[in-house]
Amino acid sequence: MTAPLLELRDVVRHFGGVKALDGVSLSIMPGEIHCLAGENGSGKSTLIKIVSGVNTIDRGHILVDGTLVDTMTPRLAIAHGIQVIYQDFSLFGNLTVAENLALGAEVRAGRRLVNWRRMRAHAQAAVDRLGVALDLDATVDSLPTSGRQLVAIARALMADPLLLIMDEPTTTLTSREVAALFDVVRDIQSRGIAVLFVSHKMREMLAISERITILRSGLVVAGGPIGQFDEAGITRLMTGSEIAEDPYLWDASPATHPVLAVRDLSVRGVLHDINLTIGAGEIVGVSGLLGSGRTELALALFGLLPSYTGTVQIDGRDVALRSVRHAIANRIAYVPEDRLTEGLFLPESIDINLLCASFDRLSRGGVLRPEAMRDAAASAIRDMAIATPTGERPVVELSGGNQQRVVIGRWLLRHPRILILNGPTVGVDVGSKAGIHRTVRRLAREHGMAVIMISDDLPELIGNCNRVLVMHRGRLVDEVADTRNGPYETRRAERALSDRLRELA
């Protein structure tokens, strides 16, 4: 039996008091396509950094070709044929494709002068090798994401790697681009190069990977040939969430208006003829592949795609959602996908993060009322059960779950009619997850909100929504489960949804 190309044995790595990796073992065979799956914060990035020599390990062993490596450094990693393609591709947007490809080699060769002809020849060779069409003279900024990715791949291949690590390679691609990427990856594999996909969105990866390792909270929770896993199982392992046996039940009371009625909503290039009606107390899941338009649907409803066509009615009234303020005034709330960059003001206090969307309600004559602010912040902390002795702490010090509660709590202060949650429990530990789910159910049931829940986490959708919609290429294409037809059997619904998504991929 051949030795693994790369092997980690019981690797431990701390950051401060936090164990980022807690005894991780992983082996990658020559020429295989391996998928490392895990949610944000599971230790994936640390693992990449350790393999590429950016971070050192506290305990454990790294073996390359069966030989122990004492200290991995970036230089050593490259010498061993390990290349990493980061999520941001690490390209120079202002420079040409040719330069992006060839500059690194020039630097490493210790040259002082640039020979453009030599650089161009190198770049051309790299592009030819990948067998793709790339304009060497185009600046990288002018390329679409998929083009930039090809440049990054071509550049990595120039170093004759044995292992290519790709960090979240499919996140910003459309499904067509993903298919093209996989062709390229299969071609790479055919030359004996191993590929390690690192991703929290492994649905696409299933089609191509041969083996999978699943990481959760710094531990390997499962691993093996891909055939032993189905998507639902992987999600459960990644998130740790168990599917609820009782789905969220909702009865339509025909007397009332729907809270939200969307007719023929379109945004050029991203959304096409969306028709959607959601009643009070409903929790509607939206699922779909990358680039399916699910986030854009949320953004359009939140006033961030003001050029939409079609009509939106809230409680029977026509509303125009031309800005975030219009959306908020019409009692729509949005909990964004990326909590850290879109949701929170990290160095600010919990209080301010809770109150920031309600300044108008907390002021009289243009002056904020400290009493009202104090009460509102305290009630939100209580309501959302945010675990903190005081609202004065900077929100950055909270755990992921509590941070998410802050973002949701912010909107509850405005008593929304419609609550849109995009990835409500990404990067939230298992315990907090259930709590957030309970809160969302309570808000829908007791406050009569219409909730739209966008998620990759299928058990989350099946367990908490009374129906789940599937989006594909900007359209709503399917409705998978619906408790209006009586409570469904959750596992079967989950499987149906998973199968449907696989068909679309």
């Binding site: 120079f92 420079l95 630097v107 854009e296 975030v324």
Partner: protein, 340 residues
């Protein structure tokens, strides 16, 4: 309200021809210069006299060399407002030294002035790289400190032509093509400026340190990962800008035959205006020597031709200010189009 998300989400492909023009700001500035010359020439045909054109080119020299330095800094994503103080400090110290030592010459003093500028520039580099502070605030501080120290500790009185080293004055007066200009030739300093410009262009285009400046302006993280030594690059950038400023300071003194330690106050605005007009992006990564030279030429053309156009020179600042704003708005529009 401003909607920061829509431009990102509604990516729209420009026609290739438009994209080509957008990426060549030289065309825009060059066109502007041509139009301005035609208009000014038709208002007052004396504009086309060789003597006037020669003096116009001569007026490009100081702003132009300083602009090369500022462009290098801006290519990396920084900004520099300390160079006038550095230029004057280098000039005044060198000339004071020459007088004190009774030395007269050209090459050594220029080498000394350049070295003084280089050292001062490295201080900027130290603060920008070592302490990670915003370049504007660092250079505001170093500029003021250097100027204050010069005036307070070295001297605040002007050195007039009678005490200026004769070799320097002789150097500053060198000219050629005297027969064409009807007595006034073209200053040789124009050739020096052109030579420096070619040198900077070759450095930016054909050396790895030059490409590292563009790389740094494109993405610092990517530059690091590609193996560039970012520290070397930042020290090189600010050192080079300082060296160019030091050399220009002494050249300035030689050309006006006076060493005034209070000179060049506010010239940073003209220089930055010229660089921005030449299409260099303040966010780094985009710009060229050709564009910068055209920017300098156009700015000098517009401000120096006010008299020829019978406009009071007090309008000069309004012209400069408008150019900065219009050029910056155009550049920001272009950058958004390219990014879209």
């Amino acid at each position: 309200m401003s909607n920061t998300l829509t431009p990102v989400l509604s990516g729209r492909a420009d026609s290739p021809r438009l994209a080509w023009v957008l990426k060549r700001p030289e065309l825009g500035v060059g066109g502007l210069a041509v139009v301005a010359m035609v208009v000014i020439g038709s208002i007052n045909p004396a504009f086309w006299d060789a003597a006037n054109l020669f003096s116009l080119l001569r007026a490009n020299v100081i702003t132009g060399i300083l602009a090369l330095g500022v462009m290098i800094v801006m290519l990396s994503g920084g900004i520099d407002v300390s160079f006038p103080a550095f230029a004057i400090a280098a000039m005044y110290l060198t000339i004071k030294g020459m007088i004190a030592l009774g030395y007269d010459g050209v090459v050594l003093p220029f080498a000394v002035a350049t070295m003084i500028g280089l050292l001062l520039g490295l201080i900027n580099g130290l603060f920008v790289y070592g302490l990670r502070m915003i370049p504007l605030i660092v250079t505001l501080g170093t500029g003021t400190a250097v100027r204050g120290l010069l005036l307070g500790a070295v001297g605040s009185s002007q050195i007039n032509i009678d005490r200026m080293p004769p070799a320097l004055i002789g150097f500053g007066r060198l000219e050629f093509l005297r027969s064409v200009g009807g007595g006034n030739g073209l200053s040789t300093m124009v050739v020096l400026y052109a030579a420096l410009a070619v040198m900077v262009h070759l450095m930016l285009r054909h050396t790895l340190i030059g490409r590292s400046i563009f790389a740094l302006g494109g993405s610092e993280e990517a530059a690091r990962r590609a193996g560039f030594n970012v520290r070397t690059t930042i020290f090189f950038i600010y050192g080079m800008a300082g060296a160019l400023a030091g050399c220009t300071g002494l050249l300035h003194g030689s050309m006006i035959w006076v060493a005034n330690p209070r000179d060049m106050v506010g010239i940073e605005l003209d220089v930055i205006a010229a660089v921005v007009l030449g299409g260099t992006s303040i966010f780094g990564g985009r710009g060229s020597v050709m564009g910068t030279m055209l920017g300098v030429f156009t700015l000098v053309l517009l401000t120096n031709s006010l008299i020829i156009m019978h406009i009071d020179t007090t309008w000069q600042r309004i012209v400069t200010g408008s150019i900065v704003i219009l050029a910056a708005a155009a550049t920001s529009w272009r950058d958004r189009r390219i990014a879209a």
